[in-house]
Point group: C2
Amino acid sequence: MRLTEAEWVIMNALWEGHPARAREIAGRLPADVNWAYTTIKTLLTRLVEKKAVQERKEGNASVYEPLLSRRNAQRSALRALAEQAFDGAFGPLMHFLLEQERLTAKQRRELIRILENNRKAKGERK
Amino acid sequence: MRLTEAEWVIMNALWEGHPARAREIAGRLPADVNWAYTTIKTLLTRLVEKKAVQERKEGNASVYEPLLSRRNAQRSALRALAEQAFDGAFGPLMHFLLEQERLTAKQRRELIRILENNRKAKGERK
DNA sequence: TGACTTCTTCTACAAATGTAGTAGAATTGT
DNA sequence: ACAATTCTACTACATTTGTAGAAGAAGTCA
């Protein structure tokens, strides 16, 4: 599932809490996003069309619920990026991230911990 | 610098070897990309307009050279993704990657090594 | 029950993107 | 020198994306 930039903004707000109606979503958008209410509605309609969101009527108004989970959206986005910019593999992507990005000592320890756990989970011995 | 999907395809081919002329780039595109020669030219022109590529004349023909490095393009793409899908931080992104993606033991060791080095580079003591 | 307020559904429209065709200039092979 | 090939510069056009306005249906409050 492929989301556009504007759609990500809406989805992020929706994932924050749902079901939610357009008005609530509007209230959760980042401060620098000043969209007309109808813009939000348009985006929601498009998301419903592409089955990323489910719409349900409650009286006259619509209530929205994500069908696409954040994790899945993130996964797709990462796959697409790896595909397009890192020879289709996650290895180089992670490699790049770990080398390039400045991490705090704490973050680094945390990542190492994850890697170690990950290793144990796979039943690999020390 | 923001590249579109089609532009990434062109840039990937250009980064592979340059300077290069349109015809060479055409020859390096992934097998599943069957663009008309003029499509490639159009894309190259757009890339020149947005200063991601430099064009130089050699006789009648054009020779292209990247102005935007692959690393920088990758970095921008990752930043944009982190921004849009991971609360603007790399931490969660890496976390997600490390947790989600299946790595081979070798890859894991390699990543741990990078993390450790990284730590040393920062002059952090054990 | 009328005046607001709030929603919904449609329609609109410019800019960005993907993808190419045309026509004419330059190069090349014979 | 001419035909065939190859390039370039323009133009074109359908889709997708970002962003919203208009008009009418519903709900709400005095």
